[in-house]
Symmetry: C2
Subunit: 458 residues, 2 copies
Amino acid sequence: MGAKLPPIRQMAEQLGVTRLTAQTAYDELRAQGWIETVIGKGTFVARTARPEALIDSVGHSSTPDSVLDDQPKINQIAIVRSFAYAEPDPELFPAGEFWGELHRLRAESAALLRYSWPQGDPALRTALADLLRERGVEAMPDNILVTSGVTQGISLITQALTRPGDVVVVERPTHLGLINSLRTYHVRAVDVPLDEHGPRLDELERIIVQYRPRFFHTVPNFHHPTGTLMSPERRRALLALARRYSLILVEDDSSGQLAYDGDPAPALKSLDEAEQVIYISSMSKVMMPGLRVGYVVAPEPLHRQLVSLRRAADFCGPPFVQRAVANFIQSGALRRHLRRVIPIYRERRDRLLRDLRWHMPPGVTWTHPRGGFACWVTLPPGIDATVVSREVLRRGFAFTPGDAFLVAPGSNDHLRICFVSQPERVISEAVVVLSRVIEAQTGEGDYWMPPHPDVPQE
Amino acid sequence: MGAKLPPIRQMAEQLGVTRLTAQTAYDELRAQGWIETVIGKGTFVARTARPEALIDSVGHSSTPDSVLDDQPKINQIAIVRSFAYAEPDPELFPAGEFWGELHRLRAESAALLRYSWPQGDPALRTALADLLRERGVEAMPDNILVTSGVTQGISLITQALTRPGDVVVVERPTHLGLINSLRTYHVRAVDVPLDEHGPRLDELERIIVQYRPRFFHTVPNFHHPTGTLMSPERRRALLALARRYSLILVEDDSSGQLAYDGDPAPALKSLDEAEQVIYISSMSKVMMPGLRVGYVVAPEPLHRQLVSLRRAADFCGPPFVQRAVANFIQSGALRRHLRRVIPIYRERRDRLLRDLRWHMPPGVTWTHPRGGFACWVTLPPGIDATVVSREVLRRGFAFTPGDAFLVAPGSNDHLRICFVSQPERVISEAVVVLSRVIEAQTGEGDYWMPPHPDVPQE
């Protein structure tokens, strides 16, 4: 161990900060492995920086809760390149333009720092109505509810439509936050498998008949995490099935604009003649997740009920943020941003698929994402994705084991690769490391692979 | 009627905007009374500007839902001076300083626009721990959950501690948003009356024995909307009662620092030795409500449960907003702001009380707020507060009828006056108008009072 640090009380006095602040700083440094405390002796500078303290604290479990909690931790480990988070590349964030929009609101700032409408800023709802039209959805600003991300949309819809013990159908695999929310609200999720055209309707019908589900959550445009695009035939058949059984569909279209093979397909909602589709989306994937701006278009009277539930949940979102997002959309900055990033994401997708083909050992398969953020990898039988992802993490790359995306975790032979958030060079490095780790696990690797030089080993 | 406007389609083409945008503009102008549509004839400029269209759309009901919905509408009527909203005076908002903090975060903006921790930005939790120490509450940053206003705190606590049909005790009168949230979650509110020292404990004990409530929501420091300060003896007796019956107390301390007669009293939580108090607060009253930043300190394991519920409710708040609030607090700007506004609020309180004494007809009584935002007025028997507030609104001033703050609305003989949001001159004008309207209602007024010259009459 290195130099001894003064006790917290003394450090606080020396720096002129409160003891609490000093304590917090010590706690954070300790959590990141920079300092160590020996009971009865004091606190010392760690002899080597020990990011493995943080690395060791993640990846122990693949429940939705633990995976969601791991993600900000992984982001804090500077040496780890993360493919574990379904967020756009922060290097490509249009943060400067957004900050510019905030700055331009300075003169109106007081008016935009008051309580606002539970339904959301009218200017933002007007801008979203224009976005929706591009997705084929006709909605007036009054038909739109602004939410705090799609997470709040799902939460409000679940509160409105379900009681504890009810059944909801989800896709297999599905959105991590969805599984977590349903579990929190004591709703039982039943999953329907996908084929290359979308959810299998024979299975869905069986589930409808058996469980009488309250709704079916689907991602027709670039299903997460497989990247599947639902075919036009499947869409029509799904709507017909939903109509026959009066099943409500909840369409998550967050990544609908992020198409890599041709133009984006319209939303499922655009075909919805019988008002059976609740449309949810957000600015998290097309702009930045930290904005916490999502939106819902629901038929009446559900729309009114969702507005009431939002009023009870948190009254309203921050109006100055909503207005800045509105102006960002209306100024054309969103369109420019998407024109810039979609080709980059496409190249990353292409690089990932090429490298997977090149390096992966036999028995590993993966999806061909047509859009969106993720690729879904299936490992050979007997290989545990949690072990693989922990081994890969020691070598400096983070992936998420797939069990977190399944209602009924089982063989744990899947990995999610979020490919949009890293540059092509890193994608190639990660695929090489991943493939060697898998080879070592299958016993097919015939060479020793050194660990990442910056990650100290146990 | 005045000039005819072109049809929406044509207007949209002329202006080069989408039809939806034109439609929205027409809708908004129509709602505000600037244009009128005659079916089959078209849309016309209204001959006179008709703010009464908007005025007529508010104040029809005093349910929490409708009062909450009226408030942003009232804010839009430029000629109305509002005492109806429990928010600080926007003219006194520290908006410039906050914008400065946002601006200084520009270099870190990308990092602060990613997904963040459900529990809240660590820097904000550190700043809040310092604030809490000033309120006599010892909490580590890890014990704090950041919420989207106190509304989200109440919502998460209600979800954690109650099931539909359960009983919760509230004060009479109480917080409007609280009644609304409890109703939304199908929880039954039972109310306990207050005397000048706080909630009446004999009544509270009777309710505990009869209903076994899940928690008691109380505002010891400047009860809203009466402005009562709970006495030290009542606090100790309340904690002893809560301990005897294992009753959880939810303390809302949002206005705790806004003391007008001497120094602020510590939070009830500061006396909480048996971990029976859940502490909730927010930056809405001491800073600005549009920030949507509140916080909760709850004992374990409830704290962990509330973090999970927030993860399911909306995942996290906007990290850049939370960081800017943290820096605002740590830089001393919050302390400077409070030093500036508290004397102004005190003078407004004093002016209100002096003018009420001077002008109010006999039979009208009111509370003496020791801090906070509101004064609670009781009208003479037989006078309807909804009628009074609508008459006053026609003369350019908005108050909220008191039934919205009661669990069991009844005689509707109360008004809430939020006095901090208007300058002293307007307070005096409003009290004169209010007293004359009441006199006219009691039949004691012996003169005709002209309506506000800018408000056209029916």
